[in-house]
């Protein structure tokens, strides 16, 4: 009898095993010359749901200009599967004094648990009509592509940072444009992030 009760409690504990999701998305973040500025942020509650952060336009002189900023994160949790998916997109983007421009910047970050599998990815992320240092980029930009920006520093395009342990947690952060500002000595002086989406799941 005692064994049966223990078995039942063990099964119950497995069924109600705590699962959490996180999601976050925003259009732009600028930290330059000691000043920090950020467009509206969408942050998902740990129990799931939906959050948005939007602006018709956003600009920081010399750093970034963009229109139609939309950040959305959604997610849900139950004892069979859970997931979070976040998107950030902007239009008419100009970054680092025009060194990088794009018609549309789209970041998509997805993390999920099914009944028997889990994972995270940045599928769906991309640029429309990207131009870097005056050169049009007509192909898909591979994750974590680094480009130099003379007089500014460098940028990582389609930056994808995996998180989680790959067993009980999965996650990813996608930053479509991550500009690292440097001085003439090559020392880091600030950063600009454009099109950021993060999602994770854990149990």
């Amino acid at each position: 009898m005692t064994t049966k009760i223990l078995l039942a409690l063990t099964l119950l504990a497995g069924a109600v095993q705590a699962q959490t999701v996180t999601g976050k998305a925003f259009g732009t973040y600028v930290n330059a010359a000691g000043v920090t500025s950020q467009s509206p942020v969408a942050t998902l509650p740990s129990s799931g749901g939906m959050a948005t952060g939007q602006a018709d336009a956003f600009g920081v002189a010399g750093a970034v200009d963009a229109s139609w900023l939309n950040a959305v994160t959604t997610g849900a949790v139950d004892n069979k599967k859970s997931g979070a998916q976040s998107t950030s997109e902007l239009e008419q983007v100009s970054a680092a004094g025009g060194a990088i421009t794009a018609d549309v910047v789209t970041a998509v970050a997805t993390a999920y648990f099914g009944q028997f599998t889990g994972g995270s990815d940045g599928e769906g992320s991309g640029f429309t009509n990207l131009v870097v240092n005056g050169e049009a980029i007509t192909t898909e930009v591979a994750p974590n592509t680094r480009v130099g920006l003379p007089g500014v520093g460098y940028a990582i395009l389609n930056e994808q940072l995996q998180t989680g342990n790959g067993v009980t947690s999965y996650g990813i952060t996608v930053n479509m444009i991550h500009v690292v500002l440097q001085n003439v000595l090559g020392l880091r002086t600030g950063e600009i992030i454009i099109g950021s989406a993060s999602s994770s799941v854990a149990r």
């Binding site: 749901g49 939007q54 997610g75 997805t110 429309t128």
Partner: protein
């Protein structure tokens, strides 16, 4: 356009009366019934559905094509939503939730737009996809901000189906969105397999 809108509202009013008559508790059904969406079939197991849906990501090519449009193309949309039956279930198919839908194609309505919708109806689909056990249908009203033009309020929308086929959902999960009629009388559609993101179907358990 006005005639179409009035017809749509009239159909909605008729639907509201029919739905209210079918309800176990029709104390205040009129305030949340959405015009322009016809009543679906009775599930038979109770007045409201027993599942919810969440999703978000990107859609490009029309189903059954898969993948992203080329980097020179604006032909895609992004979205995020949560939809579920109304917790109080004041009438059959009462729903709650929200959807964001951002269309980027310049030749679409308004040169592209952002749509912010509120879910008021939720059910299983009746467009053929109900044979898939993990699909849902929902609709309501929302605000549409065209890139070129004035904001439009109280625009109806319907997701004919949002389907959770597998994990992960890229190339498998799919969604069929309708928005309108719009100010020029047109109706927007996009029906695609996901090129990014995911859709998840969850059985309701207690307050979950």
């Amino acid at each position: 356009m006005n005639n179409a809108r009035h017809l749509s509202l009239a159909l909605g009013a008729v639907a509201a009366v029919l739905i209210a008559a079918a309800c176990h508790d029709a104390a205040s059904p009129q305030g949340t019934i959405t015009a322009g969406i016809l009543p679906g079939h009775d599930k038979g197991g109770g007045p409201c559905s027993d599942f919810r849906l969440t999703g978000g990501g990107r859609v490009d090519k029309p189903e059954p094509e898969t993948g992203k449009s080329p980097p020179s193309s604006h032909d895609f949309a992004t979205f995020g939503f949560q939809a579920r039956p109304d917790a109080a279930c004041p009438f059959n198919m009462a729903g709650s939730g929200n959807i964001e839908w951002n269309e980027h194609l310049e030749t679409q309505y308004g040169g592209g737009f952002a749509f912010h919708g509120q879910v008021t109806l939720f059910s299983t689909p009746n467009d053929g996809s109900e044979t898939d056990p993990q699909c849902g249908r929902f609709g309501g009203f929302g605000r549409l901000n065209p890139h070129n033009g004035a904001t439009e309020e109280d625009v109806s929308f319907e997701v004919f189906h949002a389907c959770d086929v597998d994990e992960p959902g890229v190339g498998k999960d799919h969604i069929y969105m309708r928005i309108g009629p719009l100010a020029d009388g047109s109706i927007y559609f996009r029906h695609s397999l996901l090129s990014g993101g995911n859709i998840q179907w969850h059985r309701l358990t207690g307050n979950n």
